[in-house]
């Protein structure tokens, strides 16, 4: 079936409060497909643009390829034996899917936060230092400055400044997730991928992380997978709806969040958003 390449959202329909200057795209995805070993087609023919310094929400029912989509964007799919990616993903001028690029550099530019907070079993400080070491920041003073800076950025500094050398896993779930975000932004990424960052957190922690995401939007391009439609509506600028059709995850609706939520063109997407399907 022929894809309808969904156009980049027009600035004129942007929601209130959004700048009306021309939006740049941070990543462009063209005809992306992903097949796992055994022939299971996780994604087929996904094309979209991810707008720079905005939040793009990815929603859709379970198993429709949302996480797979994120993993394609920073080549974590490489870790899955037998998976095969087709199509093109561009990060500015870099072709992400090219076999010649340095994936470690790519993953520093495109960071990822997972559903379950995954701090390493090390101290809070070491968690961030370990990431920094990859960028050859070896100077102690510089390291300490960056650790403080990123922890302040995620609003964790005041909570942990007295126990930086304590185990990261003794933090609460929400704190752990913010530490993971701090660890990721210590690498100065351009894009942050977040895979249901709040779903394993309690409502209060979830709200704190959500506020954080909204603040981070000023500096980074965020792509957030979420099951929480209300959250997608609250925080995102653009929304993409994925759906399983013909045994493959596909993009069925994409546009400015307000438009998707109020006037989705695709009937499936519309009924999903209104809670009638999915």
């Amino acid at each position: 079936m022929r894809s309808n390449v969904l156009e980049f959202p027009d600035a004129s329909v942007a929601k209130v409060g959004q700048s009306s200057e021309r939006l740049n795209s941070a990543m462009t995805i063209e005809h992306l497909g992903l097949v796992y070993r055994g022939g299971h087609c996780a994604l087929a023919d996904v094309s979209m643009c991810i707008a720079e310094k905005q939040i793009t929400a990815i929603i859709g029912p379970s198993g429709c390829g949302k996480t797979s989509f994120l993993q394609c964007l920073n080549r974590l799919t490489d870790l899955i034996a037998g998976s095969e990616v087709t199509g093109r993903i561009c990060l500015e001028e870099t072709d992400v899917t090219s076999s010649t690029i340095d994936v470690t550099v790519l993953r520093r530019r495109v960071g990822m936060i997972f559903q379950k907070p995954n701090p390493f079993p090390l101290s809070i400080r070491r968690n961030i230092e370990l990431a920094l070491r990859e960028t050859n920041v070896l100077d102690k003073k510089e390291c300490a400055d960056i650790v403080e800076h990123v922890l302040r950025e995620v609003g964790l500094w005041d909570e942990v400044k007295d126990r930086l050398d304590g185990p990261a896993q003794s933090l609460s779930g929400g704190q752990q997730q913010r530490l993971c975000i701090a660890r990721a932004i210590a690498l100065k990424p351009q894009v942050l991928l977040l895979d249901e960052p709040c779903s394993s957190l309690d409502p209060v922690s979830s709200e704190i992380v959500e506020d954080l995401l909204f603040r981070l939007r000023e500096r980074y391009t965020l792509v957030v997978v979420t099951h929480n439609l209300a959250q997608a509506r609250r925080i995102s600028d653009n929304t993409a709806v994925f759906w399983t059709r013909d045994d493959a995850g596909r993009l069925i609706e994409f546009g400015p969040t307000q438009q998707v939520f109020e006037a989705a063109r695709d009937p499936l997407a519309a009924s999903y958003i209104q809670g009638r399907r999915g």
């Binding site: 920073n74 470690t104 993953r107 379950k116 390493f120 079993p121 185990p167 003794s170 690498l187």
Partner: protein
């Protein structure tokens, strides 16, 4: 079901009592007959009169040297192979599966066969003769499957979130291995090491043809040296009137084995405890 015997309970208790009883009997017998023999002289002096009197000093030294050679050879090889198997191959297909199958077979091979192999390969083909080196290397071959399996399990049980998290931070495979997987798998490496050590120190058949019988103090790794287990075998089977010395040696051997096991479980407990404080 308030009255009467539960047959399942009776059966399991019987089995438990038999197993524990056999262990206690064995241990009791060895210590009852041998403990009186063990003193400083026994531990340091050389055996006299084909082992009927004197001590086991050189034998302890030979045993330690054999173990040293065994572990020095098997530890890097074993950990390397385990890392390769768990991190770089797919265990279900192709080469990985072949290695795994071979290991399963190898761990079931009787030790006397290892002894013959060691004798043919290390002693004769490589020209090492009856030597501590040949004995240690033969034991290394025998211990490898145990070591690899235990270590590999350890690496496999490292949560995949660490690997994914590391990868997402742009850490290369080597660095993920070094900074994330290896520290997390270290307790299993220790367990594998101790299991291997336990098997090696108790081994007799594989050493008879390789490290030999000579009970003098070894002056180098190329000397023949008699291990504790062989000394027990020899004094109890080949030397009339050597049983008492054999019991004494058995006490030393069993005591060493128990200490190694206790030390290992202490270390891993401490380790696991430290790891789990956080979570």
């Amino acid at each position: 079901m308030s009255k009467g015997w539960d047959p399942g309970l009776v059966l399991s208790w019987t089995v438990a009592v038999i197993v524990a009883g056999a262990f206690c009997w064995l241990l009791g017998d060895v210590f009852w007959n041998g403990l009186g023999r063990v003193n400083w002289q026994f531990l340091t002096e050389a055996p006299r009169d084909a082992g009927r009197s004197g001590g086991i000093g050189p034998i302890i030294v030979s045993t330690m040297l054999i173990l040293l050679v065994c572990m020095a050879a098997s530890l890097p090889l074993g950990v390397g192979a385990a890392i390769y198997l768990s991190e770089f191959t797919d265990s279900e297909v192709g080469f990985g599966r072949m290695i795994r199958r071979s290991l399963e077979v190898l761990s079931g091979v009787p030790s006397i066969v290892f002894g013959l192999f060691g004798s043919a390969f290390f002693c004769i083909y490589l020209g090492l003769g009856f030597s501590i080196l040949a004995g240690g290397l033969t034991l290394a071959c025998m211990v490898l499957p145990i070591l690899i399996r235990a270590t590999e399990e350890g690496f496999r049980s490292v949560p995949s979130e660490y690997r994914l998290g590391g990868a997402a931070l742009g850490m290369s495979r080597t660095r993920r291995l070094l900074y994330l997987s290896f520290p997390a798998a270290l307790p299993s490496v220790v367990v594998g090491f101790v299991l291997g050590l336990g098997r090696a120190i108790a081994e007799t058949a594989a050493l008879i043809f390789t490290s030999g019988y000579v009970d003098r103090m070894p002056s180098s790794l190329f000397d023949s040296g008699r291990a504790l287990s062989i000394h027990i075998f020899d004094t109890s089977m080949n030397v009339s009137g050597g049983e008492a010395q054999a019991y004494g040696t058995a006490v030393v051997l069993v005591f060493t084995l128990l200490s190694i096991n206790l030390a290992a479980s202490w270390i891993t407990d401490r380790w696991l405890y430290r790891e789990s404080i956080g979570s």
